[in-house]
């Protein structure tokens, strides 16, 4: 028997990536919220009622706090009210004057006013920060004073804005979820189906040079390079005298693998894009693209100079797509810039592999529930573990965790 979940009176819009049945929430912190500046911690979980008065009073206090928080009357001074007019043809909502904190990250200036994209307007409308009006007197009626437009209902706004400008429900859910978590979210350049997004080539030339220099150094000091081709039916490592295991491992490496520090086959952007497009069309699988650029809340963001995004998000519907094929993923990863592991990870091979050389975030939407997954080009062939054999394992010298007490999760 568990404490009943308080679902009927949940806050109106829970973040879609949190399962509210995951945890029984203690809402007592809400009553403290106005007085404290930091986020309050959640209370401890009780799994079953044990009949003590203290437990039941705690539960009652939590419920009261939640109801008090929900019953708080939110009001808005008329001078802060944002009123926009929706242009049905373009899906753009026009606001006369921008106000408030959202103007810093949303919408764009145009002709003295402020233009909102469908997802931005819908998000602000959902939050209660914007009032959308019909243009003119009503739908289908042209003319009439601009200020005489009637307020649009939430249902009508959804009906008109979802579907406008390539916005679908999946994309809006991802957008709204990320916005509610505090991120700055903008459309990527490949928003529409036909858009040609940039195809990024390999790494900057400086890295290539360094590689060449390193190879030269390696040839000089790391022992002999593999000269003759390995025998057709083995053995790859014949009888002989070997000074180090690295020599043996070098003889073993014959399987080609993808080198993430070079572009796969796209040299220049325009022809590469159309080429991989054709290859994908041939295979019959749709093309994936990063449709949102996302900046962390902590990243200083300027509307005039956004800078490189922290994450690139592609949105997929879980019901009508399966895990992408290698072709799709390759195409997708080529469309994001080269982002190698930072130099601080030089001595941590596992961290480097986890970071990868290019990465993209897939948002998989299943009937309103969003699950995010990060995919990165690991580049195992750039991490020659055998070169580290004599040196131990970086920070985990002396054999790592080994047989610790009570931290085993399987070997």
């Amino acid at each position: 028997m568990t404490t009943p979940p308080l679902s009927p009176s949940r806050p109106p819009s829970p973040p879609p990536d949190l399962d509210p049945t995951d945890e029984t929430q203690d809402f007592r912190f809400l009553s403290l919220a106005p007085t404290t500046s930091t986020l309050p911690r959640r209370g401890e979980k009780d799994f079953e009622p044990h009949g003590t008065v203290s437990q039941s009073s705690t539960l009652a206090a939590s419920r009261d706090a939640m109801h008090a928080a929900l019953s708080y009357t939110r009001s808005q001074a008329p001078k802060h009210a944002l009123v926009g007019v929706l242009e049905l043809e373009s899906g753009i909502t026009r606001v006369e004057r921008e106000r408030g904190i959202h103007a810093r990250t949303m919408g764009r200036e145009k002709g003295g006013g402020w233009e909102l994209l469908p997802e931005e307007a819908l998000y602000l409308l959902e939050r209660g920060g914007l009032e959308v009006r019909w243009r003119g007197g009503g739908p289908g009626e042209e003319g009439g004073g601009e200020d005489e437009g009637l307020p649009m209902s939430l249902q009508a706004a959804y009906a008109f804005l979802v579907g406008a400008q390539g916005l679908n429900v999946e994309r809006y859910l991802v957008y709204a979820g990320l916005k509610r978590s505090g991120y700055v979210v903008l459309r990527g350049p490949a928003w529409y189906e036909g858009d040609e997004e940039r195809h990024y080539g390999g790494p900057p030339a400086a890295i290539e040079e360094e590689k060449g220099w390193k190879r030269w150094w390696g040839m000089l000091f790391q022992g002999k390079e593999v000269g003759q081709s390995p025998p057709a039916m083995g053995p790859l490592v014949g009888k002989g005298f070997y000074r180090s295991h690295a020599d043996i491992y070098r003889l073993l490496s014959i399987v080609p693998c993808h080198d993430p520090t070079t572009a796969t086959k796209h040299e220049n952007t325009s022809s590469a894009s159309s080429q991989s497009n054709r290859a994908l069309e041939d295979s019959g699988s749709p093309r994936l693209r990063p449709c949102f650029y996302v900046w962390k809340p902590s990243t200083p963001y300027k509307k005039s100079a956004p800078g490189a995004p922290d994450f690139r998000v592609a949105v997929l519907d879980a019901r009508d797509s399966s895990f992408p094929t290698l072709q799709q993923l390759d195409d997708l990863l080529q469309s994001v810039p080269y982002n190698p592991p930072p130099a601080s990870m030089e001595r941590q091979p596992v961290q480097k592999l986890k970071h990868g050389y290019r990465n993209i975030i897939l948002a998989i939407v299943d009937q309103g529930v969003v699950s995010y997954m990060r995919i990165a080009d690991a580049g195992f062939c750039k991490e020659k573990l055998y070169d580290r054999l004599g040196r131990g394992t970086g920070s985990k010298r002396g054999g790592g965790r080994g047989r610790g007490r009570g931290r085993g999760r399987g070997r």
């Binding site: 009949g51 053995p235 902590s298 290698l326 990060r374 573990l385 070997r411």
Partner: protein
């Protein structure tokens, strides 16, 4: 100053005895454990092929110069053998399609140098004999299975203790509250009594199903220790070792083809199998039921999985089967004796070449894995603190089918090149291409910084 950068030295690890000392100190008042074996020494060779690095060069110590010179001269005059002589031997069992190693020294060598194979009666390292000896009181050596059992026992005891303390705290609070209320209503009291009786029921179920913490006085507590060495048994003179080492097909082929350290025999007295015969056997048995064909297409499951196995082995990883975690392989940095696996591998064949279009293999692959499958695998891996890696293997067309054709240019018409008798496995392996993608769940709430 030690300069050993050119030739990493495996003979002297500076931290080689640390772990043994640490184990002797009692931690948190628990009884001390026997010192662990020095795994750095036992597993100094990462492969069954030996390498002989020079001893460390110490600039200010002339003795080390002499030592290096002596070793250098001696090894040049009579080079020590790189490969085991004679070859390690293993048996192919046609009835089960498995490969067994029964010689004890070979078993030890294969396990110690590169963690090959699995003990047929053990979790991974073949320790059945040690455990038997310990059970019979002949030996006091510890095995990893016993460590695990003991750790689980300790954890369960800890949890029982904690649950007991929590129960007592609740009971205490109940007593206080009823005491505070002095003449509390009967309803409250009866509720409390019901709770207490539930608690008592729980206690009895716990004590009946699992050994209790500080058991009831009529049971000797020592009986709950894992495998107590009984003292009054007569010591048997010898215990026959009933355990053998089983090698996976990929391990076998790696040891035979790549390292030339192992030979496979059909019977203990028969001559070793030639490599092409062995390859054919392994490819045939990679499907169920075995499908004997004279020609082997590159889409054969064994060829694909061996490509992946060989790739990661050649990079220096210790590759072990990952069925316990629902994946194809696990990657260990130095081996399972040192640390947990860091990565778990799922092999995904990719039929990108035009030759495969419309063929059965490609159609199965093109439908792709469902998102539910991907999430399930990923959840399991994050639960066991491993990183999921999807390894895509681009399968080449058979030789002769895709000659001179580029991607997307129309493939063979199905008649030619169904597969071939493999005469050049090295160049076949060179035609596969591997790409690794790391998958990780991304949570917006934790990526904010």
């Amino acid at each position: 100053m030690i300069i050993a950068a050119w030739w990493p030295d495996l003979r002297s690890w500076p931290w080689s005895n640390k772990s043994a000392h640490q184990a002797e100190k009692p931690i948190n008042g628990r009884p001390p454990r026997a010192p662990r074996p020095n795994y750095n020494k036992i597993h100094a060779q990462p492969l069954p092929v030996n390498a002989y690095p020079l001893p460390p060069f110490i600039a200010h110590n002339p003795l080390s110069w002499l030592h290096i010179a002596a070793v250098y001269i001696r090894e040049n005059l009579s080079p020590p053998p790189s490969h085991p002589e004679p070859h390690y031997r293993a048996l192919w069992l046609a009835s089960t399609g498995t490969i067994h190693v029964t010689d004890e020294q070979t078993i030890r060598a294969l396990w110690e140098k590169g963690f090959f194979g699995k003990g047929s009666l053990s979790r991974s390292e073949p320790t059945w004999l040690e455990r038997e000896k310990r059970k019979l009181g002949v030996s006091a050596a510890d095995t990893s299975e016993q460590w695990t059992r003991q750790r689980r026992e300790e954890r369960r005891q800890f949890k029982n203790e904690r649950a007991k303390k929590e129960r007592e705290a609740i009971e205490e609070r109940l007593r206080q509250e009823t005491g505070d209320a002095a003449n509390g209503t009967a309803v409250v009291r009866s509720e409390n009594q019901r709770e207490i009786s539930i608690v008592h029921e729980e206690q009895t179920t716990i004590s009946s199903s699992t050994p209790p913490v500080n058991g009831p006085p009529n049971q000797p507590s020592s009986s709950h220790l894992p495998n107590p060495p009984p003292q009054h048994l007569p010591l048997p003179l010898t215990i026959p070792n009933r355990e053998h080492l089983q090698l996976s097909p990929e391990e076998t082929f790696f040891l035979v083809y790549a390292l030339d350290a192992l030979t496979i025999h059909l019977t203990p007295t028969s001559p070793p199998l030639p490599l092409s015969t062995l390859l054919n056997l392994l490819c045939t048995h990679s499907t169920f039921p075995p499908t004997p064909t004279p020609t082997i297409p590159p889409s054969n499951p064994f060829l694909i999985s061996y490509t992946v196995y060989h790739h990661f082995r050649s990079l220096g990883w210790v590759v072990r089967p990952g069925i316990k975690f629902g994946v194809d392989y696990l990657l260990y940095q130095r081996g399972p004796a040192f640390a947990h696996a860091q990565f778990s591998i799922v092999v995904v064949p990719s039929y990108r070449h035009a030759y495969w279009r419309g063929r059965q293999e490609a159609e199965v692959g093109r439908k792709g894995k469902s998102w539910w499958w991907v999430h399930a695998v990923n959840r399991v891996q994050s639960q066991v603190l491993k990183n999921l890696v999807l390894v895509f293997v681009e399968v080449p067309p058979p030789v002769g089918a895709g000659e001179g054709e580029r991607d997307g240019q129309g493939g063979g018409d199905g008649q030619q090149g169904q597969g071939e008798e493999i005469k050049d496995i090295t160049s076949l392996l060179k035609r596969y291409k591997i790409r690794e993608l790391v998958l990780k769940r991304w949570t917006p709430n934790r990526s904010r910084d």
